[in-house]
């Protein structure tokens, strides 16, 4: 086999994903012992490992989006299934630290067209932010807004700092680091969803906490 730089890079990333997958699964399978010191250490390790895994996904996506725009593979999915899947991930990550709720609007359609994996990555990124900042609860909401499917992560944190809100308005992350980096990535995902000339959007606002929204046309 001819190992040039790209091959090596791909092979390394491949191994990295495998090992990270294994590490995450191993951590998940450590039984809790109802013993505070042990359990909280295991829970933190799980959270951190998921954080690393999610960052890796983002890194790969951004790496690819440098050379070519993100190509979503659109199919029909159930928004409710997606929200419930995200809720269970949030519960598993939060353990008992936070209350996690789901709110489905009565007008939520049974199916919508989007790239499930990309949208899930964006929502999980928002969940990680909320896990870091929320006081006691977070709510995942789904419904319709302006003819789009809207998916929200709403927490009771002190809210997004002004500089994050402002950076989003001008569409360019000034110092993309930490929260800003993840949000930049979420916006790319939202914008990659286009239907009949309408482009998807990420919106941030504060309303008794941080409200992260994805609008998918």
């Amino acid at each position: 086999m001819n190992f040039d730089g790209t091959d090596l890079y791909a092979a390394l990333i491949h191994e990295l994903k495998n090992e990270l997958g294994l590490l995450s699964m191993t951590l998940e399978n450590i039984p809790l012992q109802n013993e505070a010191v042990h359990d909280s250490a295991v829970n933190s390790a799980r959270l951190q490992c998921q954080g690393v895994a999610d960052r890796l996904q983002q890194a790969l996506l951004i790496y690819k989006s440098n050379s070519q725009p993100i190509h979503p593979s659109i199919d029909a999915w159930s928004p409710q299934d997606l929200v419930e899947e995200i809720r269970d991930r949030a519960l598993a990550l939060a353990r008992d630290r936070l209350q996690v709720e789901v709110a489905l609007a009565p007008d939520l359609p049974q199916i919508w067209f989007f790239d499930r994996d990309l949208v899930e990555m964006a929502l999980v990124n928002a969940i990680h932010n909320s896990l870091n900042h929320a006081r006691s609860r977070l709510r995942i909401e789904a419904g319709m807004q302006e003819g789009c499917l809207v998916l929200r992560v709403h927490d009771d944190s002190p809210g997004f700092p002004d500089k994050v809100l402002n950076a989003v308005v001008v569409d360019v992350p000034r110092h993309p680091r930490g929260t800003g980096l993840g949000l930049h990535f979420c916006r790319l995902i939202a914008q990659s969803h286009v239907n009949q000339g309408r482009r998807g959007e990420m919106r941030l606002r504060n309303d008794a906490g941080a409200v992260f929204s994805l609008l998918l046309p």
Binding site: E28, L61, S73, Q80, A92, Q110
Partner: protein, 561 residues
């Protein structure tokens, strides 16, 4: 959206239905890393799935699936022994080892995993991108199980080969279960194609596209157009899809079929080459590229594709001895006799295992020895080939022509004429094969003899066929059947003749009433036609007609074809 939490009707419905009994599920985990296997076993047991069989390669997986049924197969895309997860899935579905009720989930680390394959048969029920969390796995598994539960009736009719009823059950889902609307439309689209109802399939895919131009719907539309001979429209659709989604490999395969129908073999090769550059994993894509490139005279491309097909498909059921013959033929034509000999030597153990393989060895060795001027060994190889042929062993038409050509070059004219006549009878309407046969005679300076052999071989079959068709058009199905059955005896592997015979038999029964022996003959010939020309546009329609006749006369088909 209202801020207050509300429960949707769908949620309530799910709560009402019986929960999935994970303890009853039997799972097979196919994963080449032992630590990952064990981690997955533990994860599954946390869901309550305790009946778990672990294995690490595709061959082990096939072994286990042959031993007993599994409800759930979780398979890593990258497996050690040459066959990957996608090949495993294709083989399991292709050989009917897993039913439509089995959940197959693919685990992949590749962001470029082929999400859009040509047909649902080639697609897993869902895929997981590594690294994934246990909750996601549990959710996706549950979604698939619930979906399969909703499709229970559809699948039952499908398994009973009652495609009409399966399509009707899809309609019921479309009308009553909005959550499964698109899934039901997708399945129905494939049923309509299988039923030969291409126009309805076209309309259905247009309906999906009106909701959203999802790639599989556009691919389905292009296929429905192609099957109605609307190849220009199909080509426009495909080229546009590929513009938007160049990674959609299934579209290249279909595009190459469309180009071939339009007699543009160069464009067909180009389409396949683009498909191979996106993914060189699919054995059948490589085989087809090898064949078309060879026909186009692009020997180097053909050689690479043929050897890649053998390489990727080392353990695949899609590889037959003919594939070795194909590679050797290209090598010989390139003048690389040592290369051809090397190919044979490397694969000798595999080839000696079956008479078909032995025939490939004998024919190819004969070719190589003849070109090397090694006439004693050539004669020995030819004797062996003729012995196998006399015992009923056959290769594909191209290889039989190779054999004829070598016979001719060594002065064994009578044997050569016999082989060419047989090939010609079975392919009386294949310009490519007939012109290749003519070429052999020209090269040997026997053009006139060749003209006679070919004329004699094809005239009889062609005459019987034409007479049969004309009689049928006049409504004399009885005599038409007689003519075409004689044609079938003379050309027992000729797909065109077989299909015409089936058609007139069914018309005859429509007119004169049931004839059990006749319907058995029709069944047999239709199977043979499908073996010779898999996926031919007429076959689906004939199957449907046959089924219709059977059900009108109350015959149920014994065993699945």
């Amino acid at each position: 959206m209202a801020a207050s939490a509300s429960v949707s009707p769908g949620w309530a419905q799910a709560a009402e239905s019986t929960p999935i009994d994970y303890g009853a599920l039997r799972a097979l985990v196919v994963e080449d890393s032992s630590s990952m296997r064990n981690a997955l076993r533990l994860t599954l047991s946390n869901f309550g799935i305790t009946k778990v069989q672990l294995c690490s390669t595709a061959s082990e997986a096939i072994y286990h699936v042959k031993l007993r049924d599994y409800d759930f197969i979780l398979c890593d895309f990258n497996l050690g022994d040459g066959r990957d997860g996608q090949q495993l899935l294709e083989e399991l579905r292709h050989s009917g080892l897993i039913s439509i009720n089995t959940v197959f989930m693919m685990v992949t680390a590749e962001s470029y995993y082929e999400k859009v394959v040509a047909t649902a048969e080639l697609a897993p029920d869902d895929y997981m991108i590594k690294p994934f969390s246990p909750e996601v796995l549990r959710h996706r598994l549950e979604s698939i199980l619930l979906r399969k539960r909703a499709f229970r009736e559809v699948y039952q009719h499908f398994l009973d080969q009652n495609l009409e009823a399966a399509a009707a059950a899809c309609d019921a889902l479309i009308a009553r279960q909005p959550k499964y609307l698109v899934d039901a439309m997708r399945f129905k689209g494939e049923l309509l194609v299988a039923l030969g109802r291409f126009e309805e399939a076209e309309a259905l895919y247009q309906q999906v596209i009106a909701m959203r131009a999802i790639p599989w719907a556009r691919l389905g539309l292009a296929r429905a157009l192609h099957l109605q001979n609307k190849d220009d429209a199909a080509e426009i659709e495909l080229r546009d899809v590929l513009e938007q989604a160049p990674e959609m490999v299934g579209a290249y395969d279909l595009l190459s079929d469309v180009c071939l129908t339009k007699k543009d073999a160069v464009a067909a090769q180009e389409a396949l080459e683009r498909g191979v550059s996106v993914s060189a994993r699919t054995v059948r894509r490589l085989q087809k590229l090898g064949e078309i490139a060879h026909a186009n005279g692009d020997l180097e491309t053909a050689r690479i594709a043929c050897s890649q097909a053998l390489d990727k498909g080392r353990h695949s059921i899609f590889i037959t001895p003919n594939d070795f013959a194909n590679l050797c033929r290209v090598q010989v034509e390139q003048g690389d006799l040592d290369g051809a000999a090397e190919t044979l030597k490397k694969n000798k153990n595999l080839l000696v295992d079956s008479p078909e393989g032995q025939l490939v060895l004998a024919v190819t060795q004969g070719m190589v020895h003849t070109r090397n001027g090694n006439m004693t060994d050539a004669a020995k190889a030819l004797d062996e080939a003729m012995r196998l042929r006399a015992a009923g062993t056959r290769g594909d038409a191209k290889m039989m022509l190779d054999l004829a050509s070598t016979c001719m070059a060594t002065g064994r004219h009578g044997e050569a004429d016999g082989i060419v006549a047989e090939v010609a009878r079975n392919a009386h309407d294949s310009d490519a094969l007939l012109s290749k046969a003519r070429q052999i005679y020209e090269n040997a300076g026997r053009s006139d003899a060749g003209f006679d052999v070919l004329a004699q071989a094809t005239t009889g079959v062609r005459k019987l066929n034409n007479e049969g068709v004309v009689l049928a058009q006049r409504g004399d199905f009885k005599t038409a059947v007689e003519k075409l059955l004689v044609a079938c005896t003379e050309a027992p592997h000729n797909p065109r003749i077989m299909m015409n015979a089936v058609w007139v038999i069914l018309k005859y029964i429509d007119q004169a009433g049931m004839d059990e022996a006749m319907i058995e003959t029709a069944r047999h010939h239709l199977d043979e036609a499908e073996r010779q020309a898999p996926g031919h546009a007429r076959i689906a329609g004939l199957r449907l007609h046959l089924k219709d006749v059977e059900s009108r006369f109350g015959i149920t088909r014994k065993g699945a074809g």
